[in-house]
C-alpha cells in the first residue's frame, strides 16, 4: 500500500459512455495485482470526504489505467482531468484474483458492464486464454471485446435489449455453454459485476463443483480496513465471520460468501 501522487498521462473515451484514465504511478504499479483497486482522491470535489475506489484495468510499466463510467458526482468531475493534472492515490489495495490457474483448468471470465476492466488486467497475467462472457444493458455497455480477442480469448456477449449478442443476462449464453460444453477441461470462474450476477454464478459454481473467484463491490469508506463500512459475511472453519471487502477482499472464493438480502444495495 502506497500513498502516491499520480500524474494524468492520458484520458481517453472508451465506447460512448466510458473513459479510460491513465496515471503515472511507479510505486503503485510495482506491486499491483489483478483484482486489486486504487482509492482516488478527486481534489476538484472540495466537499467530498471520501475517496473513490476503482479496480485496476491495466498496468503497463509505470502507468496504471482505470476504466470508469460517469455515474455519480465523483466520476462526473473526474471527466475534466487533463494530462499533467495530479491526483492522490492510495494503492494497490485489497486482495485480488489468483494469477496461477488450477492445473489444466480453463479460465472462464464473467463480467457485467465495466466489471470487465479488472478481468482484462487478469487476462494479461494468466498463463493461457479462455472464454469471456460479458453482459450489459445495451451494446454501448459492452467493452474491451476486441482487446480480449487480441489476447486469444473467445468472447460471448449478452445484452438486456438484444442490441448485441444474445438477448438477456450474461447467464443466458453462459448456461447454454454449460449445457453443451465438453466435460474437460474443468472451468475456473473469475467474475466481476453486479451482486445478482455474482450470486447466480456462485449457485452455478456450487452445482457444477467448479472453483469461482468473485470480486465484490460494496460501498467503501476508508479503503484500508479501518472504518468497517464494507463488511461481508463469509464462512470459515470457525463459523461465519465478518470480513472487510476492502482489505480481505474484494475477491473471494465463491463458496465462502454468505449471500444475504442487503436491502437497497445492488
Amino acid at each position: 500500500m502506497q500513498l502516491e501522487t499520480g500524474t494524468v498521462v492520458r484520458h481517453e473515451t472508451e465506447g460512448r459512455n466510458y473513459r479510460v484514465l491513465t496515471l503515472r504511478l511507479p510505486l503503485v504499479c510495482s506491486t499491483a495485482n489483478p483484482g486489486q483497486f486504487i482509492h482516488l482522491r478527486i481534489s476538484a470535489l472540495h466537499d467530498a470526504v471520501l475517496r473513490r475506489p476503482f479496480s485496476i484495468y491495466r498496468v503497463e510499466g509505470d502507468s496504471l489505467s482505470i476504466l470508469y463510467k460517469s455515474v455519480g458526482r465523483g466520476t462526473a468531475v473526474m471527466q475534466s482531468l487533463c494530462p499533467g493534472a495530479e491526483v492522490s492515490v492510495i494503492g494497490p489495495l485489497g486482495n485480488g484474483f489468483p494469477v496461477r490457474l488450477t492445473p489444466d483448468a480453463l479460465p472462464v471470465f464473467v463480467a457485467g458492464g465495466y466489471g470487465v476492466a479488472p478481468l482484462y488486467f487478469l487476462a494479461t497475467r494468466l498463463a493461457r486464454p479462455g472464454i469471456l462472457f460479458v453482459g450489459g444493458a445495451r451494446a454501448a455497455d459492452i467493452l474491451l471485446t476486441s482487446a480480449f480477442e487480441a489476447l486469444g480469448w473467445n468472447v460471448c456477449v449478452a445484452t438486456e435489449d438484444g442490441s448485441m449478442g444474445t438477448r438477456g443476462w450474461v447467464t443466458v449464453p453462459l448456461d447454454a455453454w454449460i449445457r453443451t460444453r465438453d466435460s474437460v477441461p474443468t472451468p475456473e470462474i473469475f467474475a466481476c459485476g453486479p451482486n445478482g450476477m455474482l450470486q447466480a454464478l456462485a449457485l452455478r459454481a456450487k452445482q457444477c463443483g467448479w472453483k469461482a473467484w468473485l470480486s465484490l463491490d460494496r460501498h467503501m469508506g476508508c479503503g484500508v480496513g479501518a472504518c468497517l463500512a464494507c463488511v461481508q459475511r463469509i464462512n470459515t472453519q470457525d463459523g461465519e465471520i465478518l470480513v472487510r471487502v476492502c482489505k480481505e477482499g474484494p475477491v473471494f472464493e465463491s463458496g465462502t460468501i454468505v449471500w444475504e438480502d442487503t436491502g437497497n444495495e445492488t
Binding site: 476508508c222 484500508v224 472504518c227
Partner: protein, 304 residues
Amino acid sequence: MKPDLQVQIVGIRMKNPVMVASGTFGYGPEYAELLDVSRLGAIVVKGISLRPWDGNRTPRLVEVPGGLINAIGLQNPGVDGFLDKYMPFLRRHDVAVIVNIWGKSIEEYAEVAARMDEVPGIHALEINISCPNIKAGGSAFGTNLEATGRVVAAVRKRTRIPIIPKLAPNVSDIGAFARACADHGADAISLINSYPAMAIDIETRRPILANVTGGLSGPAIHPIAVKLVYEAAKAVKVPLVAIGGIRSAQEAIEFLIAGATAVQVGTANFTEPLTALTVIAGIQEYLERHGIPDVRELVGSLRL
C-alpha cells in the same frame, strides 16, 4: 526557537495535541503503512465492548455534502480480541494509546474498564456514551444527564486508568453534561460524537443506511463542535479534547482557542490519511508566525 507543541492531558505527556479519533483509524495497523503513528499525539482506537459485536447491516456509510453519515454500529472484536490482536502492535510504538470503550449496560461499561485496568500500555479510556447507532448503550446514556453520571461513576470505581467520557452533541445543555462527567470522576472530556442524521434515496424512497439513521461527521459539524467546546469550557475545569470536522490546522486551532487542550482528527483520515501530520505542522507554523512559544498559551485564549 521552535514552539513547544507538547501538552499534558490526564497525566499523559503527548508530543503534540493532535490525536486520531475513534472509529476512523482502526486499531493502529490499518494506516501504519502510510504514516509513522509515533508522530501522533495519541491514537484513540475503535470502540471496544466486553464481547465481540457484529454491528449493523450494510450499507453502513453514505457521503453527503460536507461530510458522511455512518451507522457502523460499533463492530469490534471484544476485549479479548482487541488485547490479543492489537495491543502488541500498539505497545511496540511510541504513541499514547487511548482505548474507546462502550457497553449495553452500566455494568458492561464498568466491566470493560476493569478488564483494561490490568493491561499495560493503555494510557486512558475514552468512554463512548454518545454513539447514535446502537439501540442499547451509546447515546441512550449520553443524552440522559443522570445516566451519564452513573456510567462515569461506575467506570471510575473500576479502573485507575484516566477516563475521558465522549459527549453527544444533541443535548440541550452541554455544560450540564460536562459537569456531570467532571463531578463523577472524569479526568478529561472529549466532544463531540457524530450528530444524529439521515439520508433518503428519493428513487426508492428508502433510507440509504440499513440502520435508517446514522451519525453525521466531517466538515459540516465543525462549527457546531466549536460552539459546544466553547460552552463546555465555561462549565468545567477538566481538560477538553475537541472533535468534529478538522481538515486542517485552521479547525484545530479554533478548537484550542475555544478551550480545548487537545483535538482529534476523524473523518479527514479517510480523505487524506496524513491529515493529522499536516495539522501538527500547521499548528507549529501558526505558533511561529504569531510568536507564541507554547501551544498551551492558545488554550481558551478566545478574545471576546
